[in-house]
């Protein structure tokens, strides 16, 4: 995937995360590519992982069978994008 498309994917992901998870007040600009999504960073939790798994499947056709695997994939927007790029 080209760098341009890669950037586009990451921006798209940020917008979807904000919308899908109801992160009111958050802007796409405020989420860095490698910002930790859990705990300190964006403060997401285990239920959010499940929602992101649904998001991956519905929007990108990428399935994650085991939520435990999810924690690695959802470390950051960068890792999410990488997983999509690798598995689409």
């Amino acid at each position: 995937m080209t760098t341009e498309k890669s950037t586009e994917l990451r921006q798209e992901l940020k917008a979807q995360i904000i919308q899908h998870l109801n992160l009111e007040g958050r802007t796409v600009e405020s989420i860095a590519d490698d910002m930790p999504l859990f705990d300190e960073g964006l403060g997401l939790d285990s239920i959010d992982v499940l929602e992101l798994i649904v998001l991956m499947d519905k929007h990108y056709g990428v399935r994650i069978a085991d939520p435990k695997q999810g924690r690695d994939v959802f470390q950051s927007v960068a890792s999410m994008a990488a997983h999509i790029e690798a598995n689409r």
């Binding site: 939790d45 285990s46 239920i47 499940l50 649904v54 939520p67």
Partner: protein, 377 residues
């Protein structure tokens, strides 16, 4: 203020218990079924629009169709009322209902108002003539145990002399699909406390029992209520406290209330859903309460997680077994796989003691614990 001790001149007695669950009908028959058989959980792909392992009440005992939860309650209440000699439920009688979703089928069929949990109270009040408005306690999966704790306390405080407790919930697509979305149900029968556990199994049931300050209303009392407690994890709405905070406090409150310490507890009937986090949390809480050695079982391996019914159903089964000097095994356990030391039974065991600790934990971080004393034969 300090948790008060029970007034010495009051004993709260349990009796007139009636249950209907995937094990069948009646307390004695159900305990026999547990002693002589394995799980009543069944694999199905036709009950709902998704394959699942479920604890289902047979359709001979409870046909599918409208008003199923109301009919389920009646199947337990009618024999209960008969056993008591058809009393008039004056204002000295309390009624404490425990349910998580009530008549959820009404919502599924487009009738949202019909699914309000107070509709269950309406049914019970109207059908059985309770003067006092029945309580509907909805503390998630800790509802049933909470209801017993509250009913016992209500009698001790003198608000009522007798209390009818009904724990009930039915299976539904609403709940099953939700639990599946949370990855909280196993594709196989649940394995409480087991190293290979990977989720719970849902079930349904109703358990009704009477508490009273006047044991003479029973021909055959089941035991006594000694004390209870409720406490919150304050951690996460669907994940338990990793340190068992709320459960530990609920147990401690029940113990203080009962004037009992850890060494006085002989048997534990735990919540044991078969999920990774719940069973781990419970083991931590029990160890923190110095209860590691106490024979412990979870019953959900037999009939699944019956939600609002669980606390009442499991308490009654455990108490009935204890009356016969038995602790039944924790069905589904092969190899213990929890972080803290607990004495989970893989075989039925004879036991001398008579004090049972029942615990339940639920979404919202709600935990409840009660102490019941068996009436040994």
């Amino acid at each position: 203020m300090e948790v008060e001790k029970i007034p010495v001149n009051m004993t709260v007695t349990l009796g007139a218990a009636h249950i209907l669950s995937p094990l069948g009908e009646g307390l004695a028959a159900s305990v026999e079924r547990m002693r002589n058989g394995g799980t009543a959980l069944q694999r199905t792909s036709t009950a709902f629009d998704t394959p699942a392992v479920l604890g289902m009440i047979s359709s001979e005992l409870l046909p599918q169709g409208p008003q199923r939860i109301q009919r389920l309650i009646d199947r337990c209440m009618q024999p209960l009322v008969r056993e008591l000699g058809n009393p008039e439920f004056t204002d000295r009688w309390g009624c404490y209902l425990a349910t998580t979703k009530g008549d959820i089928a009404a919502l599924e069929n487009g009738n949202a108002p019909g699914a309000a949990l107070s509709v269950i109270a309406d049914h019970v009040q109207r059908t059985y003539g309770f003067t006092k408005r029945p309580w509907v306690i909805s503390n998630a999966c800790a509802s049933g145990t909470s209801a017993i704790a509250i009913a016992g306390a209500a009698i001790e405080r003198g608000f009522v002399d007798h209390a009818v407790i009904i724990g009930v919930d039915v299976l539904s697509r609403f709940v099953l699909r939700g639990f599946q979305a949370l990855h909280a149900v196993s594709e196989d029968p649940c394995l409480p406390f087991d190293a290979k556990r990977n989720g719970t199994s849902l079930g349904e049931g109703c358990a009704a029992v009477v508490l009273t300050k006047n044991a003479s209303i029973f021909k055959d009392p089941l035991g006594t209520f000694v004390g209870g407690g409720i406490a919150h994890d304050a951690n996460h709405i669907s994940g338990p406290s990793r340190t068992g905070e709320g459960l530990m406090r609920a147990i401690q409150c029940a113990m203080k209330r009962s004037n009992v310490n850890a060494s006085g507890i002989h048997v534990i009937n735990a919540h044991g859903t078969g999920t990774d986090y719940n069973d781990a949390m419970e083991s931590i809480a029990f160890e923190r309460c110095a209860l590691s050695e106490v024979p412990l079982s979870g019953y959900k391996g037999w009939f699944g997680h019956t939600l609002g019914a669980a606390g009442v159903l499991e308490s009654l089964l455990a108490l009935h077994a204890l009356n016969a000097g038995l602790v039944l095994r924790s069905e589904g356990l092969s190899e213990l796989g929890v972080p803290s030391m607990v004495n989970v039974l893989t075989k039925d065991m004879k036991i001398e003691g008579d004090l049972l600790l029942k615990t339940s934990s639920g979404f919202g971080g709600c935990n409840a614990a009660i102490l019941l004393r068996a009436k040994k034969k």
